[in-house]
Symmetry: D2
Subunit: 137 residues, 4 copies
């Protein structure tokens, strides 16, 4: 079983470049849109994480582009949680254009840092509880 | 006498829009570039202000556009400090294109908020000292 | 009678600054969100305008800030069309926080430029028709 | 022999997030800064490529984060051209903080698309000439 959510966005004029397509760096923002929407729906948003005394900086991100998106396009972000045993939050992304074709795929990796600025080597207790509540542990 | 500084920027690809010109919202970033450069040169940068226990949120900004800027253009920002008696930092901006023509003019107004989150109605002491040191008081 | 639309946005993490509040330049993006939403609902979006052979560059924008917005806030943008006789599109904006308080007010002015890059001194025919259809002429 | 250039940037206030560090998506902009500076110095900038009738969309990008950057930091981007036999432009990036420590590493891959919107499977003639002029062919 995979935890997965889909999020709809509309491409802004200011997100496109002189070629008339979304500037590649903006996909990182769309990944964040997807991740945040996933988090809101599953109780693991940035604000949820912070309420437990942790922040979750991104340590790696990647994106592979297959097709362009244009101004005004309604795109769909599919955000999938990878159930890794590590003390990390790993998300995979697929973005689809209005025709349902895959525009890009991507991945982000986050670690847990506690409020004394220490990297967690083990699952923080709140995250362990969350995984259990979702049937992932 | 007016305190004034000029700052050179190079227009980034990702700052331009499908019309091939700088998206209008990015001029607010250029104003910040000019203001920060002014601040660095005159000891009144954001970090200087913070070291005295204040932050200076923007309460008003405006921009009038006359000509476009394009990707790769080397533009010049002229940032002028307005010597107002109010407990405010007021800057005026002119941006010039590579031919020396005025691309836009603008203005920002900042207030002083202290570390107990109170708006300063009078000049903060550090700002009064700064104005004296610049011959503005 | 005033043409007016409201648009709901959710403040993104990456739109906020080290003070934990929305960076002031991002309000220009929110104004564009409101204007585009208004345009979509009333048949006068950027893509509609372009389909008639015109572009509508912004020649002036301004914003007055009264309260901050924070990450995760659901804000409401109220976009009002000003029925000016000039060959311009003028919009006024009010953004409200989740408590209904006014966060900022703003204004943008756009002109019409045709596909031979000439500024329209008179109302373009499509815009005149649009105004009639909305009871504004 | 590797073609490599270094570029100095100053971190803007609006590039940092509520944690006080650069928002991860902005590193994609810094990579573009490094790539463009490399291009300007070596005659292979985006404008050079376009003058030969090609555009070079990004098909993949990745970034690994090791340390944060903060507002006001002077960072150095090291951009290295990978001499691949493929019809691609591949760049590797290292960004260093003011202490000389590696902040992040990254990579981008670009393809060549000609003015009839066709992907080039072979090296475009101008790119072949450029590689010869640099001793890479």
């Amino acid at each position: 079983m995979k935890l997965k959510e889909t999020t709809t966005i509309r491409i802004r004029f200011n997100e496109t470049d002189p070629l008339g397509i979304v500037w590649h760096g903006n996909y990182i923002t769309y990944f964040e849109d997807g991740r945040e929407d996933f988090g809101s729906k599953h109780g693991i948003s940035y604000l949820d994480v912070q309420s437990h005394g942790y922040v979750t900086p991104i340590i790696a991100s990647s994106c592979k582009h297959k097709l362009p998106l244009r101004y005004g396009d309604i795109a769909t972000i599919e955000t999938t949680f990878e159930n890794s045993p590590a003390a990390k939050m790993i998300f995979h992304y697929k973005i689809f254009n209005p025709d349902g074709a895959v525009v890009c795929t991507g991945k982000t990796v986050q670690v847990f840092v506690d409020d004394s600025n220490q990297l967690s080597l083990n699952l923080p207790p709140f995250f362990e509880s969350w995984k259990k509540s979702k049937g992932l542990l």
